[in-house]
Subunit: 313 residues, 2 copies
């Protein structure tokens, strides 16, 4: 099914009351270091601290009244759990959140603050899916996948839409690649709202399933995912992968050292708190700076929810 | 000598090309927590990461051509060292910086990056003053005090001027109190640019020299200063103290625990990196929240230069 520009515009319009139009920051020093001109779309300043608020709001708004009454359920190790909780609260909808026991305490506490009802389970995908299914059956809530859901994808794309509305002449939009929702939505935004703008993904070498998926043409998984970019460990899905395959030029892989170094640059130079996942996009530009020389690049800073007790510095 | 509004306007105008007009941020969550409406003037996003850039630029611009050729010298444990170095570089003036050997490495490195020529010395005030005097004699450079200098004070006041230009109806402007330059300049800004706006200071209990000075009517010193707000350990001076005495209603003192807790709130909730000194102002509001209930308050976030290896979390 072909997505249209009109669809994206309608999504942007309907979620607007529930999200912040986040600021776009620049850094003279990071421009000098990279030899490019960078615009950072600061979704770390988004409500609940990440772009995931956008997709969550849009997904809930696509439900009918009867569905909304019964609520929504998801499994998420972090940001989407908070996003769905807060979006649901804003729209007066119950939210059931399945979280791995191992999730950072700061994220569990945030979900509770936003009114989400947590069910903990072991951290395997199988356990999470089974627990979520049980809640669906019991409550009649609608399952909303954090990334492999068309309404979520279109919602996530609105960050890049805003960025391109503010700065229409970007050559590239670069985003980290986790479950594929952000990159798929951003690719559609670049296609319809850019002026010959290309969308590129950035991924940790330690969790390069999307890079391998682009090579093989089918969804690959990570056997291990030993990366500090903990938002990027998940695989692509059958809804976002075709969009990615069709619209993304390439995915750049970076090492853990490169991620840490880029993270430090953002914290120290820009004075903003971003998640390690957000630093992956800057790391990709630094790694391939010759290719990006003098280009105008938008970076989607995915979020800023970090556990201050467990910093990589 | 009475300062006039025109003087402040001229300072704002002349330093404008050398500084950023920093953004003002809000936080729904911090408004809820404090029961006030807060506007954060984000000088952590200022060039070199702190408001001190303003005073440094203004002080150098007040020198004549012959003086500029010979350069400027100061002693500073941190931000003013960087500020004077960068302002001097921007204005093609040599900068000699006396720094205590114990200053954080990240701050020494920044001074070097900005072109400042560092001379290290023991950290006592006497050693710092003697070393700076030696450089003055040898080079003919002009000594510029980090806080007890009228041009510096007027420069620092421009942060609050901008804040009040953006938000004219603030009831209060609150700043941390260290050497007294920021609070004195902000008090003048509130007087001339506010609409019945009062300026209040915030200080660590562990370095409450300014609070005691307000009580006694003379400049008091700290025998010890065991605070994480390391920018606030210094004493007031004979130039800024009269301005403070005349224009500041009161100084609120806060504990180390209160500073850490406010720091954490700003990092976690606002996703911005600020120095512990900057958190002192928010801590003061939280400590006396009944008094500030429903007030509109501007907070000058003094800076964001922290050593990521030595965080208090």
């Amino acid at each position: 099914m072909e997505i249209t520009k009109l669809q994206l515009q309608k999504v942007q319009e309907r979620i607007e009351p529930y999200i912040h139009r986040t600021p776009v920051m620049k850094s003279r020093l990071l421009n000098e270091i990279t030899g490019t001109e960078l615009w950072f779309k600061c979704e770390n300043f988004q409500r609940m601290g990440a772009f995931k608020m956008r997709g969550a709001a849009n997904a809930i708004m696509s439900l009918n009244e009867a569905q909304r009454k019964k609520g929504v359920v998801t499994h998420s190790s972090g940001n989407f759990a908070q996003a769905l909780s807060l979006a649901a609260k804003s729209l007066n909808v119950p939210a059931y959140i399945v979280m791995p026991e191992s999730a950072p305490e700061v994220k569990k506490a945030a979900v509770r603050t936003y009114g989400g009802q947590i069910t903990e389970c072991p951290s395997t995908l199988k356990d999470r899916e089974e627990t979520a299914s049980g809640i669906e059956e019991k409550t009649g809530a609608t399952f909303i996948h954090p990334s492999n859901d068309l309404d979520v994808i279109l919602g996530q794309g609105t960050a890049a839409i805003e960025l391109l509305q503010d700065h229409p002449n970007l050559d590239y939009v670069i985003t980290p690649v986790g479950g594929g929702g952000l990159i798929a939505g951003s690719a559609l935004a670049a296609k319809y709202f850019g002026n010959n703008c290309r969308c590129i993904g950035a991924e940790p070498m330690e969790a390069d399933d999307a890079w391998r998926s682009m090579q093989s043409g089918r969804i690959e998984t990570n056997e291990s995912a030993n990366t500090i970019a903990d938002g990027l460990k998940t695989n692509l899905g059958d809804i976002n992968f075709p969009i990615i395959l069709e619209n993304i030029d390439r995915i750049i892989r970076v090492s853990e050292e490169e991620i840490k170094s880029a993270l430090r640059l953002i914290w120290e130079r820009m004075k903003i708190i971003v998640e390690p996942s957000s630093a992956v996009a800057l790391a990709a530009i630094i790694r391939e700076k010759e290719q990006f020389s003098n280009k105008k690049i938008g970076i989607v800073i995915s979020g800023g929810n970090v556990d201050l007790e467990r910093l990589p510095f």
